[in-house]
Structures are given as structure tokens and as C-alpha cells.
Amino acid sequence: MNGIHDMGGMHGFGAVDPTDSEPWHDHWESRVFALTLAASRHLRSNLDRGRFQLETLPPDAYLRGYFERWFARLIDQAEDAGFIDAASRAAIDHGTPVPARTKDREPLPAEALVHVAATGRPTARDIGTAPVFAVGEAVRARNLHPAGHTRLPGYVRGKAGEVIGYRGAHVFPDSHAALEGEDPRHLYAVRFSAAALWGNAAPPGDSVTLDLFEPYLEAAA
């Protein structure tokens, strides 16, 4: 989707503050982070769907802040999964204690969660096809505007670049986010000159490189 999250190349957000250098500003932010990881087993989501659930927040909610939107996503996910209803959601929003309920799931234990965090969940998959594009080949990012999740940023669409690396086949986010399966696709590192992206005023040697899935690309004319 062409959402507010697709902000590469936007003006208007001011200067970067390098002194704002901690992972969180407040204790609650760390709890939201860790709760999101700890609850993931039961939230009917996945890495890609989770990103899409951030992207589909109303734009003003998205802009409220990083962990503010993680919280908004977590409470949405908990409601989607049936763990809270509108009344308990309202109570949570007021920060009031919510009546106790029966435990009806087994949470991921600490050791299992730490194991997942410490080992990761690779997204590379073996697929039976050969990659269409070769390193060194000129490609163009397609002019796609899907309503669903995609990892093709707006700022490269329609622009020509060069394949500088092949990354293997990986879970395809556009499909995985829609809960339509992993549908793994070949993934390439594609380099775009800054001038191709931003016009001729850009410094001549500079570039931006993105990892782009094969369905995002076409051979450059």
C-alpha cells in the first residue's frame, strides 16, 4: 500500500537528533516491545502481517510515535484474536484494571522465547526455479500500487537500476502478509544511482541499494 510508512524521500520531518540514541524513551516502550514478541504465538500474525498492521493504522496514529504504533498494533491484534472485546479495550484505553479471566492459552515460556530471539527465523527458502535476472543486469522497478502489503518503496518505482547481488529466494512479504502463504521469490540487491532517483542535482557517484523481490522488477529497456 502507498501508506504514510512509505516515507523514503519525504520532506517535512525536520532534522535528525543524533542524541536521541537509546532504544526507548520510557519504560512502557520496552514492555510493548517485549509483549509483542512474547505474545506473537497467539496473535494470528507474522513478521510481514505485523508490518502491514502498522501500515494500516490511520496515518495520524502511525505518526504518533514508534512504540505508540506498536501498542496500537498489539491491542488491535489482541482484539482480532479474540482476547479482548470492545469493553476491555475501552478499559485498557483508560488504563484501568480489567476484570480477571480464565487462562485459556499456554504462553510461550521464557526459554522458548529467548531461544527464538537468539536463533532467529530465517526467511530463505529453496525454490525450484532459476532467478530471472543476473548480477550486472539492468532492471527497472515496476510501477506497482497494490492496496496490500509490499516492500517496494514508492521512491524507486519506475526507476532503472542495476542488479548488484542475488540474495537467494525468500518468503514473499506481499503474500505472507495477506496470510496467503510464503510463496518464496528470488530476491536481488538492486542499486539505483541517486541521480536516477532524485534527479540530476544529486551527487554523481552516490547510490541507494535495495533488496527487491523478482515480481517487483522487469528488464530495463
Binding site: 535528525v16 536521541d20 517485549a34 508490518r51 522465547l113 529467548v114 532467529g120 532524485w198
Partner: protein, 204 residues
């Protein structure tokens, strides 16, 4: 630890909401509070930029390792035990006198947790995400890095599950240092590409 922290100030509305949600998720059996504490302990005290610094210091001192890091960073970092979530597929990009690399995730805030820990707030800021792909030199100046025109700036936008580790240039005047001493010089920001390491002995 949590209680100590929360008692310092009257809790904010967000703190109260999060606490209420945590209560519900715990009661329903969706989360184990010990798991929440454990994963925070992992990222607050175990996994952090010291991992990446060790990779960099080794690359500086061990040409064979550096070659392996170039060839297959995932395997080379795996050798050192630093794989994990948000670091499953790694690529190392090396700064040189003529090339400066800088990493971003414009679409969310992907970051190589397993080698650098959790990202600083500025990395997740809308300003950094929006600007560094279009005007990296201006952004780097805000970090105090003023690159000469003849240095090529390569921005890496982490749009898939590949995560990037910048290998900064080894500072001048560090020939006599061993690997642990070198690792101590390597800053987090230098491995994201928003800092350049000062020469040894210089005031910074």
C-alpha cells in the same frame, strides 16, 4: 526492576494502558511475564553493539576472516555466535577511503538486532527514514560527519530480510592494538554508517 522504574514518576497514560494490556494478556495466557522480562534482559544486557564491534575488529585484524565476511557475512558472523532474530541474513559493507556506506529502513525500521542490539530512537525517527535516502550527506552532517565530494555515498535501504553491518575504516594509529582493544574503539553508529571513527589519539 520494573517497579523501581515505575515508581520514579506518576505513571503516564501510556504506561497505565500498557500495564492494563499486559495484565489482560497475562491472565488470558497469551504472554508469560517471565518471558517478557527474559527477552528484555536479552536485548538490554546481552545482545548489543559489542557483538558487531567484535566482528569488525576481527575483520580488521584477520584477512581470512575479512574475506569470509565479504563472501558470506551470515556464516562469518555465525562463526562468532552472533546470529539471531533480525540478523538471520547478513551482508557486511566496507567503508574505504572512497566509499562510505550508511544503512536505513525507510519502510519500517529494520535493523540488525543480533549484531547491534535494538535500534536507537533516531534510527526509527521519521526524519532519518525519510531523508537519508534522498539527502544522505545532509543527514550525515547532522551527525558531525562531513564527507568530501569525492567519497561515494552508498545508502542501503533494508527492504527485505537482509540486514546490513557497516565495517568502518580502521582508524589510523591503531597498529599496535589487539583485537579486544580495537573492538573497544568501534561505536554503534560507525556500524550503521552515521559515524566515522576518529584516528587514535585524536580528541573525540
Amino acid at each position: 526492576m520494573n517497579d523501581d522504574h515505575q515508581h520514579q514518576h506518576p505513571p503516564s497514560p501510556m504506561a497505565l494502558r500498557v500495564k492494563a494490556l499486559e495484565t489482560v494478556l497475562t491472565e488470558r495466557g497469551i504472554v508469560d511475564p517471565q518471558a517478557v522480562d527474559a527477552v528484555l534482559d536479552l536485548y538490554e544486557h546481552q545482545v548489543g553493539p559489542r557483538n558487531g564491534a567484535q566482528v569488525v575488529a576481527r575483520a580488521w585484524t584477520d584477512p581470512a576472516y575479512r574475506a569470509r565476511l565479504r563472501e558470506d557475512a551470515t556464516a562469518a558472523i555465525g562463526e562468532m555466535g552472533f546470529l539471531g532474530m533480525q540478523g538471520e541474513h547478513m551482508v557486511a559493507v566496507e567503508n574505504t577511503p572512497t566509499v562510505h556506506n550508511v544503512v536505513v529502513c525507510t519502510l519500517c525500521s529494520c535493523y540488525p538486532w543480533s549484531v547491534l542490539g535494538l535500534p536507537p530512537a533516531w534510527y526509527k525517527s521519521h526524519a532519518y527514514r525519510s531523508r537519508v535516502v534522498m539527502e544522505p550527506r545532509a543527514v550525515l552532517r547532522e551527525f558531525g560527519v562531513d564527507l568530501p565530494e569525492d567519497v561515494e555515498v552508498r545508502v542501503w535501504d533494508s527492504t527485505a530480510e537482509v540486514r546490513y553491518l557497516v565495517v568502518p575504516q580502521r582508524p589510523a594509529g591503531t597498529d599496535g592494538l589487539d583485537e579486544p582493544a580495537l573492538a573497544n574503539l568501534v561505536t554503534r553508529d560507525s556500524m550503521v554508517g552515521t559515524a566515522v571513527l576518529p584516528d587514535a589519539g585524536s580528541a573525540a
